[in-house]
């Protein structure tokens, strides 16, 4: 299949399950999206919604008990689902890079930082040690590590959390990948450090023209990073669109609930609108709309039939029966609820 010019990666109806003693856990149940060249696509969802599994399927690093039940991942002229492991290493790392959540556990504690960065360069690019070192020093100063010459010979425990994440980014970028997958890269970091790392990723994206898949559950981080957003729930994308469309004009009750459950800065004391209940058990995926049992706007049809994607605008789609022409009109609870900037504007 030939991809359109502006699309780097296309995930088409991907379904992934895990074999467990209790039965098949259906982690991803038909996810489709395009990653456009040079954009940041944020995938938002709770833990267990299948966002990490999707990204691992793209990298070809699913756990041993995972089964790809269907779907395709198109990259260049390849379908990554069919690529054999012995060929995959040409793509993994060198064309699609990945950053993980915990910077400490993604680095080898008994290997010097320099060796960890140059490892891939020497093995894959067949560089000499000196060349690789020069390249590594360049990378280290690019990701903002002071005194790279000295730091090159230190171990991961010498570095703080933020610095470790910078090292991980340097390793991911060593092979000049085209696509960067960031799996909650800032969840383990402090807010001030988090802001620095996010700025760094944005800067590198501009400089290198990376296309980024950014996975997180923090809507604040999403607002900072995203060009487009896909909201995932129970193994499916329930809504996707441009960043502004999702934050200011979202249509799916789950997106409403997510935004509502965060306290806005001007919100006075009182109750938060929490989402009742817990996410469904993916051993037995619910019939119909998976969010229906926790949804106060649920209709009878939500429990019986899965909603298709309804188009809201050219770039904005949502899978909820509320958008069906026959559905009752429901006013979005997010409407009129402004976060910082708009609230400040209306005060003036």
């Amino acid at each position: 299949m030939k991809l359109p010019e502006d699309v780097v990666l296309r995930v088409d109806n991907l379904a992934v399950s895990f074999k467990t003693p209790d039965g098949l856990v259906k982690a991803v149940r038909g996810v489709s999206f395009d990653l456009k060249r040079g954009e940041t696509l944020c995938i938002v969802g709770e833990s267990g919604s299948g966002k990490s599994v999707t990204s691992r399927a793209i990298m070809g690093i699913l756990a041993g008990n995972a089964i790809i039940e269907g779907g395709h991942i198109y990259y260049k002229d390849l379908d990554l689902v069919d690529v054999k492991e012995k060929d995959f290493h040409k793509i993994r790392g060198s064309q699609i890079g990945m950053i993980f959540q915990d910077p400490l556990s993604s680095l080898n504690p008994i290997m010097k930082i320099g060796r960890q960065i140059t490892e891939a360069l020497i093995l894959k690019n067949k560089m000499s040690r000196d060349e690789a070192k020069a390249r590594a020093l360049e990378l280290m100063s690019e990701v903002g590590i002071p005194e790279p010459e000295k730091r090159f010979y230190q171990y991961p425990f010498h570095f703080s959390g933020g610095m470790r994440q910078r090292i991980v980014i340097a390793i991911a970028l060593a092979m000049n990948p085209e696509i960067l997958i960031c799996d909650e890269p800032t969840t383990a970091l402090d807010v001030t450090i988090q802001a620095q790392i996010l700025d760094l990723i944005k800067e590198l994206k501009e400089k290198r023209g990376l296309s980024i898949i950014f996975i997180t559950h923090d809507l604040g981080v999403v607002a900072n990073m995203a060009d487009r957003i896909a909201v995932m729930y129970a193994g499916k994308i329930v809504e996707y669109g441009k960043s502004e469309e999702i934050f200011y004009d979202c249509r799916h009750p789950y997106t409403w609930a997510l935004l509502e459950s965060m306290p806005a800065l001007e919100q006075s004391k009182g109750q938060l609108n929490a989402i009742p209940g817990t996410p469904p058990n993916m051993l037995f995926p619910p019939k119909g709309d998976a969010f229906a049992p926790r949804n106060r706007y649920a209709m009878k049809i939500d429990f019986e039939e899965e909603p298709p994607f309804f188009q809201v605008s050219e770039t904005h789609y949502a899978a909820t029966w509320l958008l069906h022409p026959d559905a009752p009109k429901v006013e979005s609870p997010i409407k009129g609820r402004y976060f910082l900037s708009k609230g400040a504007k209306s005060n003036d």
Binding site: A195, G220, E244, F247, P279, F339
Partner: protein, 390 residues
């Protein structure tokens, strides 16, 4: 709601140092460095700061999981723990003074003796006697001071002994709902442990109380015989809250109770804590790093940085007029779910080395009623100006 007159918890010049190694290799980590604050009855007091700034250590020191290095903690007006570093230093200093005085007197006497060859012996004896008398009274005075300090140390030792009745009025909720529950105990055993420790053996009463606590936190009585692994993260945190509630506490120390939970569950736990607080008039010390939740939930907030409290204010005041540069940096780094705001956001970075305090030593200053900031005199002037302008 808050009773401004009744201080339920008072921290006075609390220090907590951890040391490791001996001799030249000895490393002292000053985790908490001279902090003081009061928590009033019925309020939610937030403690924020980056990881490693000492906020968890403070919480753990209050509930006596650590022994204080220095300072005092009062709970419900009673001294519950006291550190002796200050007294030990004072005793050391006094002993040093005595030693120096003895040396001084000895050299004085030997000098007199050298001169004594010329003058008559009677006068010499009187002078030596005087010097010795002075030394004696000096030593007696200092020794009295030392024994007074030693008495105080003994008192502190007595205060540091755990008073079970008082301490059961203070409970803690931990960060990680998985690690903080024993996987080999049933929910009932976990929750009732507090009662059993307090000497209650009546099985019927325990059953009744466990069911009551479970219902309070929104779980069902038949959850009591299950094990923690059968529950989701949010439910486990509810079990942790039930365990804290069973002994009818007045103060709850919540150490990042929601940071390990999903966004949708976080709101549930915050609502639950809010309900419980209203129902029982609980006081909560809320330790967290998520500032938007802290602003929503807390009445007053203390910002910590490297073991020190740099600013204390009511939550509205702190967000409206942050004064300390670190608070400003922290607030500017909070991501907001609003793309327009995020695009225009300006991040402030905090560089402590820019602030030099060699001459103008900083201290806690009340700049505005109820708004404390850790600043030097020069900075206080600047802050006053900043506030007046607005």
């Amino acid at each position: 709601m808050t009773n401004a007159n009744e201080k339920i918890l008072q921290l006075k010049n609390v220090r907590l140092y951890f040391s490791s190694g001996f001799g030249k290799r000895k490393v002292v980590v000053k985790a908490v460095h001279n902090i003081s604050f009061d928590v009033y009855k019925g309020e939610v007091f937030g403690l924020v700061g980056e990881s490693g700034c000492g906020k968890t250590t403070t919480g753990r020191a209050i509930i006596k999981l650590y022994n204080l290095t220095d300072g005092q903690i009062y709970f419900k007006g009673k001294l519950i723990s006291e550190g002796n570093r200050g007294k030990n230093l004072e005793i050391k200093r006094l002993r040093q003074e005595i030693k120096e005085k003895i040396k001084e007197t000895n050299s004085q006497i030997s000098e007199l003796k050298g001169e004594g060859v010329k003058s008559n012996e009677e006068k010499l004896a009187v002078e030596i006697g005087e010097a010795q008398q002075e030394l004696k009274s000096f030593i007696a005075e200092k020794k009295a001071q030392i024994s007074e300090l030693k008495k105080q140390k003994a008192l502190a030792k007595r205060a540091n002994v755990r008073d079970p009745e008082l301490m059961s009025k203070m409970q803690m909720i931990f960060q990680d709902p998985i690690d903080s529950l024993n996987p080999r105990m049933t929910v009932k055993e976990i929750i009732s442990e507090g009662l059993k420790i307090n000497g209650i053996r009546d099985k019927e009463f325990i059953d009744k109380e466990v069911n009551r606590a479970l219902e309070l936190v929104g779980l069902l009585p038949d959850h009591a015989n299950r094990y923690p692994h059968e529950f989701s993260g949010g439910q486990r945190q509810r079990i942790g809250i039930a365990r804290a509630l069973i002994v009818n506490p007045e103060l709850i120390i919540a150490d990042e109770p929601i940071s390990a939970l999903d966004v949708s569950i976080q709101a549930q736990i915050i609502n639950l804590l809010n309900d419980l607080r209203k129902k029982f008039g609980l006081t909560i010390l809320f330790i967290a790093h998520n500032l938007s939740v802290v602003k929503f939930f807390c009445d007053r907030i203390a910002v910590m940085y490297y073991g020190r409290i740099v600013e204390i204010a009511t939550s509205d005041e702190l967000f409206k007029h942050p004064l300390h540069p670190y608070t400003k940096a922290l607030l500017s780094a909070v991501p907001m779910p609003d793309p327009d705001y995020e695009k225009t956001r300006r991040r402030i970075t905090y560089n402590p080395s820019l602030r030099k305090f060699t001459v103008d030593k900083p201290k806690m200053v009340e700049i505005y009623p109820g708004h404390f900031v850790y600043a030097s005199e020069e900075e206080v002037k600047a802050y006053r100006k900043e506030l007046n302008l607005e």
